[in-house]
């Protein structure tokens, strides 16, 4: 495939050794970790050769935490303390969880995000996810024999800001450096596209255990451009299990089951669903805790009937995504199937009928997301491969704010390419008004009540003026992780009432480091040493990068500017020599500040160069 030529970006450091970076697919049902080793992308297996890690965490009385198959084995007899499918609770309140009543957990209705009561105390979904991530990080460190530079964590494309933020918090809580949050279907497209040299418009249909995503991508000359994305962050294989479970209750006339029996029948339902992929019927047997036996036979036809509405439900987002991309089903070159639930024959048939072509099922639907994430992690960590490629993703849901009458005003429309920013100006409606309340929302609906509330804050310190005179400029910035930052500023007075908004559901940096050090309290000295080591690594790489930049683009600076930067460089050397974390960090910060303008000029030069290179190649 002809690839786009891309100039070596700015301050990339001098040649360095291979950095250990991984891609993690944090799935509802199964999680995986993968990496690129000597040019080959591989999923890392545990000591028994198993690559999947069931996303199941069990908490025991003495504080012992079990993750994966061992936890899964205990789920039927310890359902309260064995958490499965925790991804469905990330960034969600109790009222968001529609089937909470039939789940064997003791939910705590905490503000922002629901929590779970276990014998080891109350756990937030972020902590449970962090336990899964930690297990995978340990697996990677052990297999690769070294400390990880960073990780790319995948999220469903349709995850909103609250769910993304929760995922990032979980990774940081697990001690991981997050290189990027990557959308699952996009990760799959990278793995598939690079492997097959695909060009044209492709659809990724990703039905996993708990989430459904659809993404439409345009693949041209090494660029993966997401045109639109849609989905349902609460639709997946779990829902098919649930339908079968309800069918069992109805057939066997069961009522008021215990948590153990519920979990047991959900497990049997899932086994039956998976068996029906290969067989035309399957037997469901179970002995309940009161000694009663369940013995039923479920055939494919019945299964298709009881799950038809779920299959149809996936086609709505497909239509939406096509509309947003302004293309029709006939324009699609291929449909890539991702996620274990796409193994179901009636899903494949529905997709084939819709697009008028058989979907592409020649890749492992369990692994492809982790593989794509690993490829991305490898590039982001600075291990450049032969091929250069670029990923242009979008924001899945519109962002807006509350206006008069409980209505939302959209500020950034869904499917905008990220990073993206929009500013909007507002004014006061009373004389002398000094504060203004801002409510940030995400979603497509008109009414505030139908959208997700991301953050609510009061902007204070507006200088008193007559009504309508103040000009408050609110800026929404969505970064390459799809995460939102909101800042506000009063424009007329020169008074800078500018603030950064920490969304209410997210954990503050302080809270995260507190949780981190709590869990590591007994190794406090290690933490100090580690902090210093990390500070010095950062300082070293900044120094190297700055020196490289001066060498390459030094002509962009005047002599005074150069010597000013050199002075700060010397201070950094001294700080490193002092071996005190605080001084190193401060010096790093100063050098970052001192090189900001330089960075801007280099970046401008980069754009100009890129455009020139492109014109030459056109001739």
């Amino acid at each position: 495939m002809a690839l786009l030529q891309i100039a070596e970006p700015g301050l990339s450091a001098a040649p360095h050794q291979h950095r250990l970076a991984v891609g993690i697919d944090l799935g509802t049902t199964n999680s995986l970790v993968a990496t690129v080793r000597s040019g080959a992308t591989t999923v890392l297996a545990d000591e028994f050769g198993r690559s999947l890690l069931p996303s199941v965490v069990r908490y025991q009385d003495g504080g012992q935490v079990t993750v994966g198959y061992d936890a899964q084995r205990e789920q039927n007899h310890d359902p309260h303390n064995t958490i499965t499918s925790v991804k469905r609770f990330m960034g969600r309140g109790l009222s968001d969880i529609k089937d909470a009543g039939s789940l064997p957990y003791r939910f705590v209705d905490a503000p922002g995000m629901v929590q779970l009561h276990t014998v080891a105390g109350v756990k937030s979904p972020v902590e449970v996810s962090a336990d899964i991530l930690r297990t995978l990080a340990q697996r990677a460190a052990a297999t690769l024999g070294g400390e990880l530079t960073g990780a790319v964590i995948t999220v469903p494309a349709y995850f909103d800001d609250a769910q993304r933020q929760a995922t990032k918090d979980a990774a940081r809580l697990a001690g991981l450096t997050v290189l990027r949050l990557l959308n699952e279907p996009t990760a799959a497209a990278i793995a598939y596209g690079l492997d097959n040299g695909a060009e044209g418009t492709y659809v990724v249909y990703d039905l996993g255990g708990g989430t459904f995503d659809i993404s439409i991508l345009k693949l041209t000359r090494g660029v993966f451009e997401v045109l639109s994305t849609s989905g349902d962050s609460a639709l997946g294989g779990d829902d098919f299990d649930h339908r079968v479970y309800c069918w069992i209750l109805e057939q066997a006339d069961l009522h008021g089951l215990s948590a153990q029996d519920t979990r047991l029948l959900l497990t049997r339902a899932r086994e039956a669903k998976e068996a029906l992929t290969e067989h035309s019927d399957t037997r469901i047997t179970a002995i309940l805790s009161d000694g009663n036996a369940v013995d039923l036979t479920l055939d494919q036809d019945t299964f298709r009937q009881i799950t038809k509405t779920l299959v149809d439900k996936t086609l709505l987002p497909v239509r939406k995504a096509l509309r947003d991309a302004d293309i029709s089903a006939g324009d699609v070159k291929g449909v890539v199937m991702v996620g274990g639930a796409t193994r179901m024959p009636h899903i494949q048939k529905a997709v084939a009928d819709f697009f008028g072509q058989p979907p592409l099922t020649n890749l492992d639907p369990d692994k492809v997301v982790a593989l794509g994430a690993a490829i991305q992690a490898n590039v982001l960590a600075g291990n450049k491969g032969e091929d250069e490629w670029l990923l242009l993703d979008v924001i899945p849901l519109s962002l807006g704010i509350e206006t008069m009458g409980g209505l939302t005003e959209k500020i950034i429309p869904r499917n905008s390419t990220i990073p993206v920013a929009r500013a909007q100006e507002f004014t006061t409606f009373k004389d002398g008004q000094t504060a203004m309340s801002i409510h940030v929302l995400q979603g497509e609906r008109e009414l505030v009540a139908d959208c997700r509330s991301l953050a609510q804050f009061v902007l204070r310190g507006i200088p008193p003026m007559v009504a309508g005179a103040a000009r408050i400029r609110i800026t929404f910035q969505v970064d390459a992780d799809g995460l939102l930052a909101v800042s506000a500023r009063e424009m007329t007075s020169g008074v800078e009432a500018s603030i950064e908004v920490k969304p209410s559901y997210g954990l503050s940096d302080d809270a995260i480091s507190q949780m981190l050090s709590d869990s590591l309290a007994h190794v406090q000295d290690d933490i100090e040493a580690r902090k210093l080591r990390e500070a010095i690594v950062d300082a070293d790489s900044l120094r190297d990068a700055t020196l490289a930049a001066l060498r390459i683009d030094g002509d962009l600076l005047t002599a005074e500017e150069t010597s000013a930067i050199q002075l700060v460089l010397q201070q950094l050397e001294q700080a490193i020599a002092s071996q005190t974390t605080l001084q190193v960090n401060q010096a790093t910060h100063r050098l970052n500040k001192a090189t900001e303008d330089f960075a801007a000029r280099r970046m401008d030069r980069n754009i100009q160069r890129a455009l020139k290179g492109q014109k030459i190649s056109e001739l």
Binding site: L4, I6, A7, P9, G10, L11, S12, A13, R19, T149, L179, R180, T220, V223, E225, L316, R319, K320, R323, Q376, V379, L380, A381, G382, E388, L390, L391, L392, S416, T417, I418, P419, V420, A421, E444, Q477, D479, A480, S541, L542, A545, L591, N592, K593, T595, E596, F598, A599, A600, M603, D604, N606, I607, R609, A610, L611, G613, Q614, K615, E618
Partner: protein
């Protein structure tokens, strides 16, 4: 942190400042520029560069979105020439246009009330072709006759059509569930 973006969006992509443009060339230039400054290229760079990449990538995307959409491109060209299109304030429209608007609304409502998604989709594609015709007129007013007042009216009309298309989209989505 402040960075001056001294070039207008056309200059940024090396295009001449006019409505008619080669969308293929725009797309290629955008991809090249986006590739040069995308935050992914700076994931292991110092913070100053990371912040700068975020700002520049945002700017490049904004420029592309503005030039890609005929409505936004028209509005932007007018603003470069000091003409405010007054889309929020000026609602006076030619009578025949208003009549046509009412007919569109009625057809949309009718299709919505009878839950006819196919009819809505047909309306949407008819509307999109009307939009394209109006865009061609706008290009003429901006590039050939340089009639800025007429162009401002067309931008306002296009905005109306865009809102209608949005309404159709919302109706389809509501019907689909």
């Amino acid at each position: 942190m402040t960075t001056e973006f001294s070039q207008d969006f056309f200059q940024l992509f090396g295009l001449s400042r006019r409505f008619a443009l080669d969308s293929q060339q725009l797309e290629q230039s955008w991809r090249a520029a986006a590739a040069a400054v995308h935050p992914d290229r700076y994931a292991s760079s110092p913070d100053a560069e990371k912040r700068m990449a975020l700002m520049q990538a945002t700017h490049v995307n904004e420029a592309y979105q503005t030039l890609k959409s005929p409505l936004r491109r028209g509005r932007y060209l007018l603003s470069l020439q000091g003409v405010d299109t007054q889309e929020e304030t000026n609602t006076s429209m030619p009578l025949d246009f208003l009549m046509a608007q009412m007919e569109w609304r009625e057809s949309i409502e009718e299709a919505r009330d009878s839950s006819d998604v196919d009819a809505l989709e047909a309306l949407s594609s008819r509307l999109r072709s009307d939009k394209r015709a109006l865009e061609a007129e706008l290009g003429n007013a901006l590039d050939s006759t340089a009639d800025l007042d007429a162009a401002a009216v067309m931008v306002r009309k296009l905005r109306f059509l865009e809102k209608l298309d949005q309404e159709i989209g919302d109706a389809i989505e509501t019907l689909l569930g």
